[in-house]
Subunit: 200 residues, 2 copies
Amino acid sequence: MATRTDAPTRREQILKEAARLFAERGFHGVGVDEIGAAVGISGPGLYRHFAGKDAMLAELLVGISGQLLTGAKRRLAEADGAAPEAVLDSLIEGHIDFALDDRPLITLHDRELDRLRDTDRKLVRQLQRQYVELWVSVVRRLYPELTEPSARSAVHSVFGLLNSTPHLGRPGSLPGRGTTAALLHRMARGAFAAAGTDRP
Amino acid sequence: MATRTDAPTRREQILKEAARLFAERGFHGVGVDEIGAAVGISGPGLYRHFAGKDAMLAELLVGISGQLLTGAKRRLAEADGAAPEAVLDSLIEGHIDFALDDRPLITLHDRELDRLRDTDRKLVRQLQRQYVELWVSVVRRLYPELTEPSARSAVHSVFGLLNSTPHLGRPGSLPGRGTTAALLHRMARGAFAAAGTDRP
DNA sequence: CCCTCAGGTTAACGACCGCTAACCTCCCTG
DNA sequence: CAGGGAGGTTAGCGGTCGTTAACCTGAGGG
């Protein structure tokens, strides 16, 4: 795929700043005037680009879920026939990339879902469910002694582990992105391995 | 300590319901009228028991952090001189009990901290920091090859893992509390073990 | 038997917030 | 060069929300 070199559109600027603000202070804690100010225009100017505040959140959440799912599907297709360990590693790597590069989005992802209109919320939940099931199938192939409910719990728990990046302090205080990614990766693998041993 | 058999006070009722509502819809997403309705009185009646909506959140968050820290200190004192493995197991057990029994509080704990007044927020952060440092010291005793920043990251990540219980579906759909607790415990130990091996 | 007070009630105020209306100003294009 | 749309602006409306004020009530104590 072509990496983008062109400047971000106004819509993209708005989405990025809105994500940051929503993650920092919550959906209801941010006013449209603040979002506008963050991109250099004033509140009502946003309505030239979005139908409303809700629409921004919806586009963010649908985008996140879709991106995660699409990426996972691609990785699964690329690793077709590979060993289950390698496939799981690829999924973990993709999730870590996302968690480290788009921290505000990861935060929003499991925090503001209930602020969506019914139709959008159902869509996001469906995408999330597909993503989880994809992980569950890989995990169960690698650890067949895990029951399906246990595998699902394990996957959710590892998501909790990987999504903890927002709590790891400001990006500067970390031991470096590569080190952090490697640590998270090792821990995720260790957690799955521990889940898969002993009684399920 | 004496287990309480007496009925909960009105204050406690309010705090419990407020915690549930805040966790479900966010601090700004809940009105005082709703909180009042949840305990059978109407909005302004709450002001006989609390100085304001902020005060409820503050009391909840300070209470959570304090409870976690106090429990951890007690467990550390009780396990004085025991093997590091046993001490870590005790810490994990305590955290899991909390995460499973007080899900709304766990949710609030890392979600609504920024809505507090400066003085309260600093207090909560200080309690949280002490709690983390306590874990870090135990983890480093068990895995001396871990650098301190890595150990701290590992602790935060395991908190993410253990605090994922709100995402595990309604309490009924789980394989049973004991099974879930055991799974989480194993995964936490596995994650730490994986963090502590290989290069730090 | 009154007084007090804890713990409620309803009415209402002021602030804020999402959103719309009306208007303005470039820039592109036929 | 006219004109029209894209992308802004400010003023303001309507609703909601936290909080206060004023009032009510029932139970306990001197």
